[in-house]
C-alpha cells in the first residue's frame, strides 16, 4: 500500500509539471488554433537560464539562503522566457496569421529546431547540473518519501493554476482573452486589441513554461538542450487528453498523464505477467491517450476552440 501511495505521489509531482506546461499549449491553441511546438524549448531555455543565473549567484557568495537564491534566479529568468515567447509570436507566427493552418505549424517545428540548436551553441551539448544547494533529505509520511523541492513543486503548481483561473475568470484581461478565444473578429468589433491579447497569451504561457522548466531541473538535478522535446510532446498529449483549449482540461490531463505514467511503470510488469516491462512506460501512457481520443475525440473535458471562419 505504501508503494502505491509513493507511486501516486511521484505521479502527482511529474503531473503537476506536465499540467503547467500543458497550460501553455492549450492557451495558445485556444486563441490561435496553433500548436506551438516551440513551447517545449521555451521551458528548456527557462531551465538553462535559471541554472546559469543560479551558478552566478552561488559563486557571488551573497550569503542568502538557498531557496531565496533559486527564487531570485527564477524571477530573473522569467522575463527572458517571456521576451522569447513574445519574439517568437511577432517574428514567426504573426506574419502567418492569415496563412493556411499548415504554415504556422511547420514554422513552429522550425522555431523549435532553431531554439534547440541555439541552446546547444550557448550552453553546450552536455547535461548541466542544477547547483546542489537545495535540501534533498526526504520527509516520510504514510510510507511515501517526498523532498522539500517536490512539496514546493506540487503546491506552487497548484497556486499558479488557481491564479491563472482567477486571471481568466475575474479580470478584464481574462475576459478579453476569453473573447478573443471565442471569436477574434467579434472581439475586435468590441474594441479588444486582438494583437496585444495574443502577445499577452504567449507571454503568460512562456512565464509558466519557465517556472515549469525550473521545477523539472530542480527535481531531476539536471537540464540539457534537448530536454524540451519529450517534455513538450508529453505535455501536449496531456493537453489533448484533457481537451485542447480547455484550461481545466490541461490541468486534469497533466495530472492524469503523470499518474498513468507512474502507476503504469510500476505495475505494468505485474499486470502483463512480465510480458511488457517498465520500459514500455511511455507506450502505456500514449496508448491511454489513443484510447481516450478514440472514445471521446474532444478529450476528457471537451475542447474549446475559437469560432473561426
Amino acid at each position: 500500500m505504501e508503494i502505491l501511495f509513493q507511486q501516486i505521489v511521484n505521479g502527482l509531482i511529474i503531473g503537476s509539471i506536465y499540467a503547467l506546461i500543458a497550460l501553455g499549449y492549450t492557451m495558445v491553441y485556444g486563441i490561435l488554433g496553433l500548436i506551438n511546438f516551440a513551447h517545449g524549448e521555451i521551458v528548456m531555455i527557462g531551465a538553462m537560464t535559471t541554472i546559469t543565473l543560479l551558478n552566478l549567484l552561488v559563486s557571488a557568495s551573497l550569503g542568502l539562503p538557498a531557496p531565496v537564491l533559486v527564487v531570485l534566479a527564477t524571477t530573473l529568468a522569467i522575463p527572458v522566457s517571456m521576451l522569447l515567447g513574445y519574439g517568437i509570436e511577432r517574428i514567426a507566427y504573426r506574419p502567418l496569421r492569415k496563412a493556411p493552418k499548415l504554415s504556422p505549424l511547420i514554422t513552429a517545428i522550425g522555431v523549435s529546431i532553431v531554439l534547440q540548436n541555439m541552446a546547444m551553441i550557448i550552453w553546450g551539448k552536455n547535461y548541466a547540473p542544477f547547483p546542489a544547494i537545495l535540501p534533498t533529505m526526504p520527509h516520510h509520511f504514510f510510507g511515501a518519501a517526498i523532498t522539500d523541492v517536490q512539496i514546493v513543486i506540487i503546491f506552487l503548481a497548484a497556486l499558479i493554476m488557481l491564479s491563472l483561473v482567477w486571471l481568466i475568470q475575474r479580470t478584464r484581461l481574462g475576459t478579453a482573452m476569453r473573447a478573443v478565444a471565442q471569436n477574434p473578429d467579434a472581439a475586435k468589433l468590441m474594441g479588444v486589441n486582438v494583437n496585444s491579447i495574443i502577445s499577452m497569451t504567449f507571454i503568460l504561457g512562456s512565464a509558466l513554461g519557465a517556472v515549469a522548466g525550473v521545477m523539472v531541473s530542480a527535481n531531476y538535478g539536471q537540464a540539457h538542450a534537448t530536454m524540451g522535446f519529450v517534455l513538450g510532446l508529453k505535455a501536449f498529449s496531456a493537453a489533448v487528453l484533457g481537451g485542447i483549449g480547455n484550461l481545466g482540461g490541461a490541468v486534469m490531463g497533466g495530472l492524469l498523464l503523470g499518474l498513468i505514467e507512474s502507476i503504469g511503470a510500476g505495475y505494468l510488469g505485474d499486470l502483463t505477467g512480465g510480458f511488457l516491462g517498465s520500459h514500455y512506460q511511455d507506450v502505456f501512457a500514449f496508448l491511454v491517450l489513443i484510447l481516450v481520443l478514440v472514445l471521446k475525440p474532444s478529450g476528457l473535458m471537451g475542447e474549446r476552440v475559437a469560432d473561426r471562419p
Binding site: Q6, P129, Q222, G269
Partner: protein, 390 residues
C-alpha cells in the same frame, strides 16, 4: 495560378544550382591517395558527439586526435613513403540507425580504418558494414560479447568484454558485498542488456537471488516509478546496466526516495561526469572498468598529463582510443601498406606496448589477457578496490 509559376520557376532554378554545386563538391572531396611521395591515411572515428553521452564521445575523439597530432608531428613512414593521417569524425548519436548510415558513409569514402564506435549498440550493427567492405575496425570501448562472436575478421576491441565484466561484478556483489537479494535495472541497449544478463548469470551461479528486473531507456531521466517498485522488494543491492547519464539521476532519485541500498554499475557508470552529476549521492557507488587504473597503466600518467594540457579532464575511454591509433599505425608500418587487405593480417597479429596495456588480440578479435578493475566512489574520486585478471 500566376503566383505559383512566379515562384516555381525561380525555385526550380535555385534548386538545380544547389544540386550542381553539391555535385562539384563531392567530386573535389575524393583526393586520390598517392602522389608519388606522400600517403594520406584516412582514419575514421565515430561516437556520440551530441546527446546525453556527448561528453564521452568527445573524449574518445580527443584521444584519437591527440594520437594523430603526435604521429603527424613526429612524421611517419609506411614502407619508404611519408604518410600523414587524416581524421574523419562523425556523430552517431549512440543510435544504431545513425551508426549504420555513418558506417556506410565511411565505407563509401574508402577510409583505411575505423576507430569506433563507442557504444556496443552502435558498434555491432556497424561492424557488419565494415566487414563486408573489408575495413578493419577497432572499438576502444564496446564491451558486449556479440561484437567479436560474429566471426568478423575486421572486428577488434581494446577492452575485456562484458562476459568478464559481468562475472567480476556478480562475484563481487555476492562474495565481497554479501548481497543475497539483488535487483537489476538495465537500459535495454545492447550494452546495458548484455551486461545485466552476464551479471545475473554470475549472481545466480554464486547462489544469489534476483528479486526484480526493471527496464528503462538511454534517454530517460525519471526513474522514480521503477525505483519505487524496487524499494518494495527489499533488495540488498541494486545493479544498473547502462550509462552515466542515467545512472547519476537514478542514484540521486534513490536517495530522495529514502533508499539506502548500495548501487553498482559497469564501465558506463565509472565516469567523471557521473560523480559530478550525482554529487553527494555518488558516495559509495561501486563501478567497474575493464583495464587497470590510470596510475597503474604502463603509460597512464604521461598520457594523462599530455591529454589534460590539451583537452581537460579524461572522461573514460580516451586512453584506449589513443592506443587504437597507435595499434593501427603499427600494423600498417609492419605490413608496409595502408591497404586494409594487406595490413589486416598484421593487425590481427599485433603485439603493441600501448599506454593502457600490452595489446595483442586473440583469434576472435578480443584483447588477450584483459583485466577488470572494481572501484568505489569515495569523496568525489574513483578509488580502486581490486583488479582481476583472466
Amino acid at each position: 495560378m500566376e503566383v505559383t509559376t512566379r515562384v516555381l520557376k525561380p525555385l526550380a532554378l535555385a534548386l538545380s544550382l544547389v544540386l550542381m554545386a553539391g555535385c562539384n563538391d563531392s567530386k573535389e572531396k575524393k583526393p586520390q591517395a598517392a602522389t608519388a611521395d606522400a600517403l594520406v591515411i584516412k582514419i575514421a572515428h565515430s561516437a556520440p558527439l551530441t546527446g546525453p553521452q556527448a561528453h564521452l564521445g568527445k573524449d574518445n575523439e580527443n584521444g584519437v586526435r591527440l594520437a594523430i597530432d603526435e604521429l603527424n608531428a613526429k612524421g611517419i613512414l609506411i614502407g619508404d613513403k611519408k604518410a600523414t593521417i587524416e581524421l574523419i569524425s562523425e556523430d552517431d548519436q549512440a543510435d544504431p540507425r545513425v551508426a549504420t548510415t555513418v558506417a556506410q558513409k565511411f565505407v563509401d569514402e574508402k577510409v583505411h580504418a575505423v576507430i569506433g564506435h563507442m557504444n556496443s549498440g552502435t558498434t555491432i550493427p556497424a561492424s557488419k558494414i565494415y566487414f563486408d567492405a573489408g575495413v578493419p575496425q577497432i572499438s576502444p570501448s564496446a564491451t558486449n560479447v556479440k561484437y567479436t562472436q560474429q566471426g568478423f575478421k575486421t572486428a577488434f576491441r581494446l577492452m575485456a568484454n562484458d562476459a568478464q565484466q559481468g562475472k567480476v561484478l556478480g562475484n563481487y556483489a555476492v562474495q565481497d558485498m554479501q548481497a543475497k537479494k539483488i535487483a537489476i535495472i538495465d537500459d535495454r541497449t545492447a550494452y546495458g542488456q548484455g551486461l545485466a544478463a552476464e551479471f545475473e548469470q554470475a549472481v545466480l551461479a554464486q547462489g544469489g537471488v534476483i528479486v526484480g528486473h526493471e527496464f528503462t531507456s538511454d534517454r530517460a531521466s525519471d526513474f522514480t516509478a521503477i525505483l519505487t517498485k524496487i524499494k518494495g522488494l527489499n533488495a540488498d543491492l541494486l545493479f544498473y546496466g547502462g550509462m552515466d547519464a542515467q545512472a547519476a539521476p537514478m542514484v540521486k532519485q534513490m536517495r530522495t526516495l529514502g533508499m539506502a541500498v548500495p548501487f553498482m554499475g559497469g564501465d558506463g557508470t565509472h565516469t567523471a561526469e557521473f560523480i559530478s552529476l550525482a554529487g553527494e549521492a555518488a558516495e559509495g557507488v561501486i563501478a567497474s572498468l575493464p583495464g587497470v587504473p590510470l596510475e597503474n597503466m604502463p603509460g597512464g600518467l604521461a598520457f594523462s598529463e599530455k591529454f589534460q594540457a590539451k583537452y581537460g579532464k579524461i572522461q573514460l575511454y580516451s586512453p584506449y582510443s589513443y592506443d587504437a591509433v597507435y595499434v593501427l599505425i603499427g600494423a600498417m608500418q609492419k605490413a608496409q601498406s595502408i591497404d586494409p587487405a594487406v595490413y589486416g593480417a598484421q593487425l590481427a597479429a599485433s603485439q603493441h606496448e600501448g599506454i593502457t596495456a600490452n595489446i595483442a588480440f586473440d583469434d576472435k578479435g578480443d584483447l588477450k589477457g584483459g583485466s577488470i578493475t572494481v572501484y568505489r566512489a569515495e569523496k568525489g574520486e574513483w578509488k580502486m578496490l581490486k583488479t582481476l585478471r583472466d
